[in-house]
Amino acid sequence: MKIVVAGEQKEVKDSLTVSELIELEKVETPEYVTVSVNEEFINSETFDSHVLKEGDEVEFLYFMGGGR
């Protein structure tokens, strides 16, 4: 199926979960990433069970602590 990750279209296997996408995308510090699907934040406790659908738009939001 086709999904959109960070604005880019990707071909992924059907019924991919958020956790599997995190692994596939090699997300840094996966324990602390915020994930939104179709402009809604996903509870991190449901990353394993949240199954993505065709056309879903996924964003990863990362902590960035620097500034000084």
Partner: protein, 269 residues
């Protein structure tokens, strides 16, 4: 308040913009902006806001200028090493534009001082380098209903969002709590490309100017991310404010400020 001839010339490139004009320039000259952190983000933001003629600029930092700062903190010079960053920043701003009143605060922000610090200002800019400060500033701005430009930078990446409390999502809507100590690298541990502060800090200054003059659309409800290596800017649309947020929902569970533990190594540079 009438402009002097010198001011008309100094701000002529602003005044000629139909979106700014004399009216917008007056708004800038009457505005008060507080910049927390006189470093990678705060340096370029301070320079542009002083040059723009923002009437009062407050600058908060408890550090002194170190040689390792100069790769990115463009408001300080080699001759400033060892000087309080707030003093060095204030001197540079006054040299650029004597119209600007600069207030310096040589202190760390904490639950004890932050609300009072921000209260007198119209717009707050977060240029700090640790999560304890970033969460503290966010929460205090929500409680005091102060508009805030939040930003973070690391390595070749940066991001920012603009928060209008009560209207747009806050930092804690995105990230519920600070990550544990050392779980997420800081600039000192991971490095940061110098120009990143320039890009993101300048965008923060741009948001402050837009807020003050009421021009255009603010970066509210979005997190703008910048990846320098891919040369990619990306706007992430955020869910609406407050849904379950511990601090900015209509029924917040956080009503007192929290002093999170700051990694000891972060207290130095």
């Amino acid at each position: 308040m009438a402009f002097t001839n010198e001011q008309l010339e100094r701000y002529s490139r602003h005044i000629i913009l139909k979106e700014i004009g004399v009216k917008g320039q007056k708004k800038l000259m009457n505005a008060k902006v507080l910049i927390i952190g006189a470093g990678g983000l705060g340096a370029p933001a301070s320079l542009y806001l002083a040059a723009a003629g923002v009437g009062t600029i407050g600058i908060v930092d408890a550090d002194v200028v170190d040689l390792s700062n100069l790769q990115r903190q463009v408001i300080h010079s080699t001759a400033d090493i060892g000087k309080k960053k707030v003093e060095s920043a204030a001197e540079t701003m006054r040299a650029i534009n004597p119209d600007v009143t600069v207030n310096t605060y040589y202190e760390f922000v904490s639950s004890a001082n932050i609300r009072e610090l921000i209260r007198d200002y119209d717009f707050i800019l977060d240029g700090t380098d640790n999560f304890a400060a970033k969460f503290l500033i966010n929460d205090a701005c929500v409680m005091e209903k102060k508009p805030l430009s939040h930003a973070g930078i690391i390595r070749f990446k940066g991001q920012l969002t603009t928060i209008i409390p009560g209207e747009s999502p806050c930092y804690r809507c995105i990230f519920k709590d600070p990550p544990p100590k050392d779980a997420v690298p800081t600039c000192k541990q991971a490095g940061v490309i110098g120009a990143m502060g320039g890009v993101i800090g300048s965008l923060q200054a741009m948001e402050a100017v837009k807020y003050i003059t009421g021009v255009g659309d603010l970066l509210t409800g979005y997190l703008l991310t910048y990846d320098a290596l891919k040369m990619d800017f990306h706007k992430i649309k955020l869910p609406p404010r407050g849904k379950g947020c511990a601090v900015c929902s209509d029924d917040p569970s956080i009503t007192e400020l929290i002093d999170y533990e700051q990694p000891a190594c972060e207290l130095k540079h």
